[in-house]
Subunit: 350 residues, 2 copies
Amino acid sequence: MKKNPTILDIAREAGVSKSTVSRILNNAENVSPGTRKRVLEVMLKHRYRPNFFARGLGGRRTGVVGVVVTDITNPFYSVLVRGIEDVCRVYRYNIYLCNTDGREEEEKIHIDSLMERKVDGVILASTMLTEHSLADLLERDVKLVLVARLPEDHSSFNFVVVDNVMGGYLAAKHLITLGHERIAYIAGPWLSSPNLDRFAGFRRALGEVGLGVDEKDIVQGDFKMESGYLAGMKLAKSLSSRPSAVFAANDAMAVGAKEAFSELGMDVPHDMSVVGFDDIPLGALRCVQLTTVSQSIYDQGAISGKTLIERILHPDKGGIQQIVLPPKLVVRKTCARVPTREKRGERSGT
Amino acid sequence: MKKNPTILDIAREAGVSKSTVSRILNNAENVSPGTRKRVLEVMLKHRYRPNFFARGLGGRRTGVVGVVVTDITNPFYSVLVRGIEDVCRVYRYNIYLCNTDGREEEEKIHIDSLMERKVDGVILASTMLTEHSLADLLERDVKLVLVARLPEDHSSFNFVVVDNVMGGYLAAKHLITLGHERIAYIAGPWLSSPNLDRFAGFRRALGEVGLGVDEKDIVQGDFKMESGYLAGMKLAKSLSSRPSAVFAANDAMAVGAKEAFSELGMDVPHDMSVVGFDDIPLGALRCVQLTTVSQSIYDQGAISGKTLIERILHPDKGGIQQIVLPPKLVVRKTCARVPTREKRGERSGT
DNA sequence: TCCATTTATGGTACCGCTACCATTATAAGC
DNA sequence: GCTTATAATGGTAGCGGTACCATAAATGGA
C-alpha cells in the first residue's frame, strides 16, 4: 500500500466505511467489538496515523499549545519550559516554543503566529502585555495561562505565580534575624510585577521592625547577571558607609553582585550578606552557595501546563484558576550574622 | 463580519473569486495591481489570516520544524535551541520542542509525533538513533539535520558539528605546553561520538610528544555535573600518585570536578589544572573561570536551522550539507604551569 | 406477531484552501 | 479586421478527516 494510507484506504481494506474507521479513531461507542478489532489490525499493519491537518480543519482541537518565554537561555525559563513539556507529553500535546527577549512587539507577533496555527492554548511567561491586549486574546477563545508575571488587573485570568510578597518578606526577615539593619535592594524593572511584589514584601518586613530602605541603597538592575555585577560594584564602592547586606530581586543579579564583591576583595558573607530569589541551579553550585528564596520553577511549569490542558479538555468545568505557590527560604552560605557594632565601625564607620 | 473570515468572505467582500484571493496569498503573478490592492485592503481590514490547516491539507509546506534535544534545562541545548529559534523566526517558521532525556525510545516517540504533525523538517541534537533508523526517516521525505552527535556512518546525512578531534587536541596541547605530563580524562558515554572524538584528539596530542594515558586516569562520567564531581573526587583521592591536570569531555563535568577539588582543599589551578569543552555560560562566571574549548553553540544552532530551512525551501538545490566548525581554545584561569619536579615530588612522588 | 427502540453501519456534505482547467478580456501580429 | 498570444479572472474538484442523517439489522415489550 502507499506510504501514507488515508482513512479511506484503511476502510476499504477492512471492508467498512470511512465513518466506521473515524468512529474507531475517536473511540466512539456503537462499534461492534469484531469490527473494531479488524479495523485496528489494519491500522496497525499499515502504521496508519490520521492526518493532523485534515483533523484540524474541522475546527477541533489541535493538540498543540504555545509557550512564550523571554529567553530560553535563561535557566529560569528553561526549567519552566521543561516542566511544561513534561506534562504536555503525558497528554500527548506538543508545544511551540517562542522567545520574545522581553519585547512586547515580538510577543505580539509570536502570539499572532500561534493563533494562525490554531493552538489550543497559550502559556505566557513574564508577559509584557497589558490586561487589555490579553483580554483581546481571550475573546478569540484561546485558553490562556499566565506564569511568573501578571498585568496590573489580573482578576480575570488563569495564572500560576509564587507569592512574591511573601518571598521578599522571607528574605528580609532572614537578614533581619541575622542582625542586619541596613539592607540594600537590587531591583528588577519596576514595570515587572515580581520585582514590585518582592520589594513590597521586603519593605514590609523592614517596616515591622522599624527599619526602612534608603533610596541610595536601591540600585536598578534588569534581572540579568551583568546588571547585578554592576549594581554590586556600585554598592561596594560607596566606601564611607555601606549596607551590610543586599537582597537582589533575582538569583542572576545576586550572583552578579556576589562576583563584584569578591572581585573587590570583600568576603561574602562576612563583609556582605547576599540573598537572591528564584533558586536557579547555578545558585546551588558549590562555589556559589547562594542563599535564596525558592519558587519551585519546575512545578510552576508543570502546574501551568496541567492547568492549561485541563482547561482545554474540559472548557466548562470550573472557572478561573489562580494559583499562588508559597515560596521557601533556602539557606546556603551567602549570609552571616552582622558584625558587632565596633567591628563594623572599623570598616565602614556606620 | 464573523470572527474568523475565510478566503470566501474576503473574496466576496472584494468582489472577486476565491482563486484570485488565493493567488494573492501565494504572491502568484497574473493579478492586476488594482485587484491586488483592493483585496489586500479587505484582508487587512478583517485581520484575515489563511487557515493553517486548510493549507496544510493540500500536502504542502507547514512552516514548522521539530527540534529534538536531550534536555532543554542543560545550557548546551538551551543555547542551541535559541540559535535555531532565532533563524526560524526570520523565515517565519515555528518550532516544536521535544526533550528525550537521552532515551532512544522517547526520541522515537517524539519523532513519530512530529511526523504525524507533518513538520517540514527535524533537527536532531545528540541523537541516540542509529544510521539505520535515521535512514528510515529520510525515506519518509523529512528533511533532517543532525547536530552535536553523529551515528557511526554519517556519510549520507546533513549535519553541523564542531571538530571534536581538533578540540581534544587543542585542550591536550595547551596542557602539554604548560608542562603537564600526566593528564587524566573524565569521559562521557563511550557511545557518544563527541566523547570518542575528543578523546581521540586528546590522545593524539599526547602521543605526539611521546606521552600516553594510563587507564587508571580515565574516569567514567555521563556529561552531567554530578558525575564530574564524583570523578574529581575519585581522581583527587588517589593520593599516592595523581595526575597534575584533567581534561573533561564537557564543561559541566569540568565544573563538577573543579568543585570536588576545591572541596578537598586542593587549589585549582596550582594543585590541579582543569580544561573543559563546550564553553557554556556558566564557565565564564567569575568564580569558575574555566579554561575550555569553545564550540560556539549558538552558531551551531543558527547554522543547523538555516541549513534545514534552506533545504526545505530549495529541495533540489545542492546535495548533502556537512559542516564541521573549528573549535577554539578559551584560556581562563583553571590551568597553570606544572610545578617543578622537586615540588611535585613532595606532593605526589611522581 | 408487530411496531418501537436500540445498535451498527453507510452515505455525504462540509471544513478552507490550492491546483488545475475554463473562460473571458486585452494586446499584439499580419 | 481577424486570428493568435497573453493576462486576468472564475469555476470546481480534491486534500483527509468529522458530523450528521439515513438505513439496516437486532432486540424487546405488548
